[in-house]
């Protein structure tokens, strides 16, 4: 059972960035107005931020990192580890973390690597960076997480386009012996790997002359083999059963009193799914923030984006306990209890 804790590492700050370019779901022509209204009611997604062609996840994360470093008054040469969590890296190789090390002007002594996880990636990323810092004594670290999923979608696929938005984030960690322990429950069920996937372009199915041919899957769903497949029904079934399980596992393992948790921040998948998860966990509505309406599902950025846009005013100059829970592509999930003590939350950046 992958439940464990890491002592002596503190979260010092969080920053997020989104593209300025806004798309409204009411403007979509792949759905009828009636379908759109029902879609919005069920999923809660009204607007999404969509990156123009020349704006990548690494660019969004780079801006967020620079802003956060400035707001924290950190020196760049103090940062000894950079982890980039994304499924929309700049290139197949090399890792974007290497490019970001140079772009951000970090020391060449800095450890830098990518983690290609999605919806569970933020929680996994925290566990990786905190675990490595604790084990090796690295003093300062940056977790960059986000996706520009819009680049992976077929514009003629009504099952994906209205859901996904683009965003990047940066989270700063520092060794601090007084920090409350970070607690985790992580898991994987690869039997569901086909639920959310892109078929072609990797090593198993190299991109070939057929990869870019559009196929009609069902009315309103046309895509090619290099674009995202989302099996909404299976994702939904997975989310409503697995998310409450992993949160309960963490709560039982570490004997957490739910009343002492200030906020429960879930991956923003869709409102109907998230409300059901909150209901099964019997969480009071005021403790469960949402950023779905304005930003949609931004993959590994949903949790920091929800914190920055919905909780910023709550978190300054206080000490608060949060439970964070991400679940999705893999299938993979992670829950963490994180204490935010006098944490710096930067203003949302729009690029």
């Amino acid at each position: 059972m992958a439940a464990f804790s890491v002592n002596g590492v503190a979260v010092k700050g969080i920053a997020c960035s989104v593209p300025k370019n806004k798309e409204l779901n009411v403007d979509l022509n792949i759905l009828t107005q009636e379908e759109i209204q029902k879609f919005i009611e069920a999923t809660g997604v009204e607007e999404r931020r969509i990156a123009p062609k020349d704006l990548c996840t690494s660019d969004l994360c780079c801006e967020a990192a620079n802003k956060l470093i400035t707001d924290l008054h950190w020196q760049k040469n103090e940062i000894e580890i950079l982890v980039f969590v994304s499924q929309t890296a700049d290139y197949i190789l090399p890792v974007s973390a290497a490019i970001l090390q140079d772009r951000l002007g970090l020391s060449t002594d800095c450890i830098a690597f990518d983690v290609p996880l999605g919806c569970s990636g933020y929680v996994y990323g925290i566990s990786i960076i905190a675990g490595m810092m604790k084990a090796s004594g690295l003093k300062k670290g940056l977790l960059l997480a986000g996706d520009t999923s819009s680049k992976l979608l077929s514009k003629t696929d009504k099952s994906t386009v209205p859901l996904f938005g683009d965003a990047g984030s940066a989270t700063a960690f520092e060794l601090d012996e007084n920090a409350e322990s970070l607690q985790f429950d992580l898991g994987t069920d690869g039997s569901g790997y086909k639920t959310i996937m892109i078929n072609d372009g990797g090593a198993r199915n190299r991109i070939n002359s057929d990869s870019l041919i559009y196929q009609t899957i069902s009315p309103g769903i046309e895509r090619n083999a290099c674009q995202l497949i989302l099996d909404g029904m299976d994702v939904f079934g997975f989310g409503i059963s697995q998310a409450p399980k992993t949160v309960n596992k963490l709560i039982e393992k570490f004997e957490i009193d739910k009343d002492n948790i200030n906020h429960f921040v879930f991956h923003q998948a869709n409102l109907m799914m998230n409300k059901m998860i909150a209901k099964k966990l019997k969480l009071p509505a005021e403790k469960v923030p949402y950023s779905l309406k304005e930003f949609g599902n931004t993959s590994s950025a949903t949790i920091p984006l929800t914190i920055v846009t919905q909780l910023k005013d709550n978190l300054g100059n206080t000490s608060q306990s949060l439970i964070l829970c991400g679940f999705g592509v893999g299938l993979s999930w992670g829950t963490a209890k994180v204490s935010l003590d006098d944490v710096v939350i930067s203003d949302l950046i729009e690029i």
Binding site: E35, K38, F39, A42, S159, D231, G232, M233, D234, F236, G237, I240, S241, M272, M273, M276
Partner: protein, 76 residues
Amino acid sequence: MEINAFLKNFADILDDTDAALITQETVFRDLDEWNSLTALSLIAMADEEYDVKLTGDDIKSSNSLNDIFEIIKNKG
């Protein structure tokens, strides 16, 4: 598990469909109101009321509401 209670639960997830149209033989896919979102409501109902995880394949392979009822019964 009882069929009439299941049919009532199914009727409850619909907004604009006359509950009288909901019978064991109803081909749910042919209902005007049926779409990918109602499918999610059905998965949610099976989870909430019967603690059963319906998959996309379960729904795709079913025709009548009785088919769904039998799947839930067998999984429960």
